[in-house]
């Protein structure tokens, strides 16, 4: 900007923001945080007995897998894309880690297994990110392809073993339950810090949000969209591989159905956490932490409150609809698509 053009013209008076306007503007954030607080309070109330610590660590065990994957998924969702193959990828990765781990043996086996899976996850990320662009496909189609592919691969792999369930010989989790919880919390916190850094303070986060908000504009402003799409999907890949490992630590085993439903669960988690499915500038990394814990605590609360098993899904559906009505409702104009 040429220096002499800078004048002292005052920028227009800042409008006063009333509390109500603030509430309206941040209804999304507030709802998701309030939701978490509510389910957490209910959790404390209904679990105040001797099993409190036990139940808390159960919640941590379940939610940490979701959280790890969701932290990666935020990058993809902030571009307005989604990946429906996450669940099947997790299934195949867990099986592969066990097969490779057992073949090589010991701790090195686990490491080799994890690295192999990580490589595979990165390749899938590249397919999801790049192939869709090259072939002119919506990203959902490549992820559908991967979903079918990995469903098949999981079945074939398990049939190859001739067993219902395979087990990793090397122990991968601390014996004590509390130590295990601490390990999971540590993983989630470290990963969340890394993800938050990349999301807030690096090109990755800024570019994925820009792509989600307007891909053409991003491209014309110097964003190599293909490259960053691939990187974002690879970031998800890393997190899916990590999430698979965390899942593996829970049981040390895997089966035909391992990981099933994770793609949808992660999506619901992110929505509950306040992530807009269309991506863009309203995307936020906190959704990946708030969502999973809300989701798991909610399930837990409903069971402990003694809601009939058949009614739990109904209640969950109503809560989901209520939250999206509060947060995603479009006020005027044409019907949203």
């Amino acid at each position: 900007m040429p220096e002499k053009l800078k004048t002292n013209t005052p920028v227009e008076e800042t409008e006063k923001v009333t509390p109500l306007q603030f509430l309206k503007k941040h209804v999304y954030d507030i709802t998701s945080y309030m939701g978490l607080v509510l389910v957490a309070v209910l959790f404390v109330i209904f679990n105040s007995g001797p099993r409190f610590m036990f139940n808390l660590s159960s919640v941590i065990q379940t939610a940490s897998v979701y959280a790890v994957i969701a932290l990666g998924a935020v990058f993809v969702y902030s571009m307005g894309f989604m990946d429906v193959s996450i669940g099947q990828q997790v299934g195949v990765y867990v099986i592969l880690m066990i097969l490779i781990g057992n073949k090589v043996g010991g701790v090195p086996g686990v490491i080799v297994g994890f690295l192999a899976v990580l490589a595979l996850a990165l390749i899938c990320g590249a397919i999801n990110g790049a192939v869709a662009v090259w072939l002119g496909l919506p990203s959902i189609v490549t992820s559908l392809f991967l979903m079918f592919f990995f469903t098949g691969a999981q079945v074939l792999l398990m049939e190859g073993t001739g067993k219902n369930s395979i087990e990793l010989e090397q122990a991968v989790r601390p014996e004590g339950r509390n130590e295990y919880s601490l390990m999971l919390i540590a993983i989630v916190i470290v990963l969340a810090l890394i993800a938050a850094y990349f999301f807030k303070y690096t090109k990755l986060g800024k570019y994925t949000r820009a792509i989600g908000a307007n891909e053409t504009t991003a491209a014309q402003s110097g964003v190599n969209t293909i490259k960053w799409r691939v990187i974002a999907y690879m970031a998800l890949g890393v997190c899916v591989a990590l999430g698979s490992f965390v899942l593996l630590t829970r049981t040390g085993t895997a089966g035909k159905g391992s990981g099933s439903g994770y793609a949808m669960d992660v999506m619901i988690c992110l929505i509950l956490g306040g992530m807009p499915l269309s991506g863009g500038m309203k995307s936020k990394i906190s959704a990946a932490l708030v969502g999973p814990f809300t989701y798991v605590l909610l399930s837990n609360d409903l069971t402990t409150m003694g809601v009939d098993l058949n009614w739990i899904n109904f209640v969950k559906a109503l809560i989901f609809i209520a939250i999206v009505l509060l947060t995603c409702r479009k006020k005027d104009g044409v019907l949203p698509r």
Partner: protein
């Protein structure tokens, strides 16, 4: 001569949230007139007409149409009663037939029990097209087969029929070439002669002065003045209108004042024998401190040249070279210091659903990034500097771009490249849909850029702007260069037009 009043608006107010778009407006429209509506962006011109035509509802106030209270439910409702409106943006529906485009809102007239008779629809549509004298458009064809001009004509056909009493043209001409404009002018004059009423909104002062019989000026949601034809013909009319619009003296300095067409010797950008699409073998050398302008009708290929220079077009042969390096993608272009202001501001140049600051710093992110870290402080410093420098009206950099007016939006898309400190800036219609105050500001920015040694390509459909700003003017027609002019005080629009059509 007393004309019959057809529409009367009393005490109309319209609020968009805290923004007051219309403040207690009283205005009347008469038969047999072409009423121009002018005002800066956000002054309320389109708000009045869109309420009149049923697109939205007023917050308060009354309307009377032919003496009766008037409250249209939808645009079609208004159209059935004789008030039609053509909008600025392309409003045809792709992948549908011409007939469907024309009659989609009125299928009920051709259907029984919800079953529509497409044969009848096609016949009626063709009849209508013929009656407008545009028989070359066939009702049963897909709209995709027709170009931009023809589509606009289809839109006009959709709006205007025998029952049309009031015809609103909302900045339609900005999107039209000269040919299209002529057709539209003919139509509104015919309507006027048939004792109908026309309301004409435009940013183009010359057009307004030429075509309108009356003029109403708005500012900040209030009527600031009415001019008759006689007053419009007065020698200082333009100055007076501008004063009414802006509310202060514009001053003489509007375009560049100097006629020095020199530039620095260094070459900033070279287009070598570009061949792509219909464009064959185009070459251009742009120097530092030079403004090269492109003029022509909208389909003449000048926009494509701008895109090609920014690496957005796939070249069949030839090359774009900057500082010895060939530029093949827009990424390379940006990295080598080229900036591009797209004419499709809202869809290509800006992230509407995002903060101003993020828009401004987006091209500069690689420069801000140190070992992957991008400091929020540095970002804020950069964006605040631009917001201040460009006097972008906003609360702060976190405000979203879609809350800004057109002119301020355009300032944001300018500031992206000044923040990046690009040396070559390609501007495609930089002042389209921007009001006078902002325009004046932009021209000053461009002139200062030249002085700083930036190289500029200015593509525009407004000849006056080109004549006023550029060192070298290239006129194109049918994808070929027809004439080049150099900067001179004697250059007149009439000299140029013949090379355009």
């Amino acid at each position: 001569m007393s004309k019959e009043q057809i529409i009367e608006i009393r005490h109309m107010c319209k609020n968009f949230g805290p923004t007051r778009a219309l403040r207690d407006v009283d205005v009347s429209f008469y038969r047999g007139e072409i009423r121009g509506l002018v005002g800066e962006n956000g002054s309320g011109k389109s708000t009045i007409t869109s309420i009149l035509a049923g697109m939205q509802k007023a917050t308060s106030g009354e309307m009377f149409y032919k003496g009766q209270p008037w409250a249209p439910k939808t645009m079609v409702d208004a159209q059935r009663h004789g008030i039609s409106m053509v909008l600025q943006e392309a409003n045809t529906i792709p992948n549908c037939t011409v007939a469907e485009n024309i009659f989609a809102g009125r299928f009920d007239e051709f259907s029984k029990l919800g079953i529509v008779n497409m044969k009848k629809v096609n016949e009626a549509a063709q009849q209508l097209l013929d009656s407008f004298g545009i028989s070359h458009i066939k009702a049963a064809d897909s709209i995709n087969d027709y170009g931009f001009e023809d589509r606009k004509l289809v839109e006009i056909v959709r709006c205007v029929n025998d029952d049309t009493e009031v015809f609103v043209v909302d900045e339609t001409t900005t999107a039209l070439s000269l040919e299209g404009r002529q057709l539209l002018y003919k139509l509104i004059h015919k309507l006027k002669d048939n004792d109908k009423s026309v309301i004409f909104i435009s940013h183009d002062m010359d057009e307004i002065l030429e075509q309108c019989t009356d003029l109403t000026v708005l500012r900040d949601g209030e009527i600031k003045g009415n001019l008759t034809r006689e007053e419009m013909d007065a020698p200082d009319a333009v100055k007076r209108i501008r004063y009414l619009m802006v509310g202060r003296e514009i001053g003489e300095a509007y375009y560049r004042e100097d006629y020095d067409s020199s530039h620095r010797p260094e070459v900033a950008l070279e287009l070598k024998n570009l061949t792509f699409g219909p464009i064959k073998d185009f070459s251009l050398t742009l120097h530092k401190g030079e403004i090269v302008g492109f003029g022509g009708l909208s389909g003449c290929g000048m926009h494509e040249i701008g895109r090609a220079a920014f690496g957005l077009e796939k070249l069949a042969s030839g090359s774009v070279v900057r500082e010895g390096k060939e530029i093949k993608t827009c990424l390379e272009a940006i990295n080598s210091g080229i900036g591009y202001i797209s004419k499709n501001r809202d869809t290509e140049a800006l992230i509407l659903a995002g903060p101003i600051a993020d828009n401004i710093v987006l091209p500069s992110i690689p420069a801000l990034s140190h070992a992957s870290f991008i400091s929020p402080k540095a970002e804020k410093k950069l964006s605040d500097g631009e917001i201040e420098g460009f006097r972008i009206k906003c609360n702060n950099g976190r405000q979203w771009v879609n809350t800004l007016s057109g002119g301020n939006k355009q300032k944001v898309s300018f500031s992206k490249w000044t923040a990046k400190d690009s040396d070559v800036i390609i501007m495609d219609c930089p002042t389209r849909g921007v009001d006078i105050g902002v325009k004046q500001f932009m021209y000053k920015v461009i002139a200062d850029m030249k002085k700083e040694g930036k190289a500029i390509i200015l593509i525009s459909e407004e000849l006056a702007e080109l004549i006023g700003m550029v060192d070298k003017l290239i006129i194109m027609k049918d994808f070929e260069v027809t004439k080049e002019f150099t900067r001179s005080p004697d250059l007149k629009e009439t000299d140029i037009i013949e090379y355009m059509i």
